[in-house]
């Protein structure tokens, strides 16, 4: 998939995944890269920016397998951003799909 498409939706994907439950970085990366190809490293600058903006908070939690993991949790502010992005995305894909299906073409 085109890289320009992905950069825009990556933030929305991360916020949606964190809306389900708190997750650690690797888990987020795996969840997304199973669905579409990304450069896995780019999630971390994004997470850092979301934290700076107050959309997510982080905390460390011990894991059974070894050292503590850094968990990311969606804040109320992040939830609002997520809802806005999802709404925009849905509006956008409906419009684009309509175009692809040839709806309303005659009206031009």
């Amino acid at each position: 998939m085109n890289a320009q498409f992905k950069k825009g939706v990556l933030e929305m994907c991360v916020l949606v995944l964190l809306g389900e439950k708190d997750r650690y970085g690797y888990e987020l990366v795996q969840n997304i890269s199973h669905r579409f190809e990304i450069s896995e490293g780019s999630i971390y600058p994004l997470l850092r920016r979301l934290r700076d903006e107050g959309s997510v908070v982080t905390y460390l939690q011990e894991s059974a397998e070894g050292p503590a993991r850094k968990y990311y949790s969606l804040t109320a502010k992040g939830g609002i951003t997520r809802d806005e992005l999802v709404a925009e995305w849905q509006e956008f894909i409906i419009a684009v799909n309509g175009l692809l299906d040839g709806e309303n073409h005659a009206e031009g």
Binding site: Y26, E40, S42, Y44, K70
Partner: protein, 197 residues
């Protein structure tokens, strides 16, 4: 471009690229990738696989450095700080030469030009006023086409417009600074670093 790399080399290249950041920030960033490698290995992947899926550490490092410089320029505004942030952002992609550097240069030149004009007008006014006063006082022969009294007020007017222009320029500069920071942040988040995706 795809280079075979192990965890140590990935982390050391990343460390190299973010050495302008504070030590705390560096450690935090490196810890994120260190954790990623550990999780990946526990997941049964090799260091080389994980590193190549992560992408180019230098590009990632440049993105971190640019964000950090933009944050710093916002927290403590200075021409030098903004300049560094702009250059770091331009370094994220050739395209930014046209959408960051060029507009920035034009804007700076425009603001400097307005300042120079304002300053010149402010300085020119008193000369005219002074000349008019000396003429009115009879200390100088009347050589102006304009009546001395008109020249006096004209001089005051010129100075006032110069001062006004400089105040306007100051106000414009502040707005441009704030919006410029917002634009850089947006640019880094949306446009730059496409190559790393």
């Amino acid at each position: 471009m795809v280079k075979i790399m192990q965890k140590d080399e990935f982390l050391s290249q990343l460390r190299q690229a973010i050495k302008a950041l504070s030590v705390d920030e560096q450690e935090e960033i490196l810890a994120d990738y260190d954790e990623h490698f550990r999780m990946g290995i526990a997941d049964g992947r090799t260091e080389t696989e994980i590193a190549s899926a992560l992408g180019d550490p230098r590009s990632l490092g440049k993105e971190y450095a640019a964000i950090s410089l933009v944050n710093r320029a916002e927290e403590s505004p200075s021409a030098r700080g903004l300049g560094r942030a702009v250059i770091a952002t331009v370094g994220l992609g050739l395209f930014n030469l046209f959408v960051v550097f060029l507009p920035f240069l034009i804007l700076v030149l425009m603001l400097v030009l307005i300042l120079i004009i304002g300053f010149s007008l402010t300085c020119a006014g008193p000369f005219l006023t002074g000349y008019a006063i000396l003429t009115l006082a009879g200390l100088l022969p009347i050589e102006l086409d304009t009546p001395p009294l008109a020249a006096l007020f004209f001089g005051i007017g010129i100075t006032s417009s110069g001062l006004l222009l400089m105040a306007l320029d100051y106000w414009l500069t502040r707005i441009c600074y704030r919006q410029g920071i917002r634009y850089l942040r947006w640019n880094i988040a949306v446009i730059s670093g496409k190559e790393t995706l």
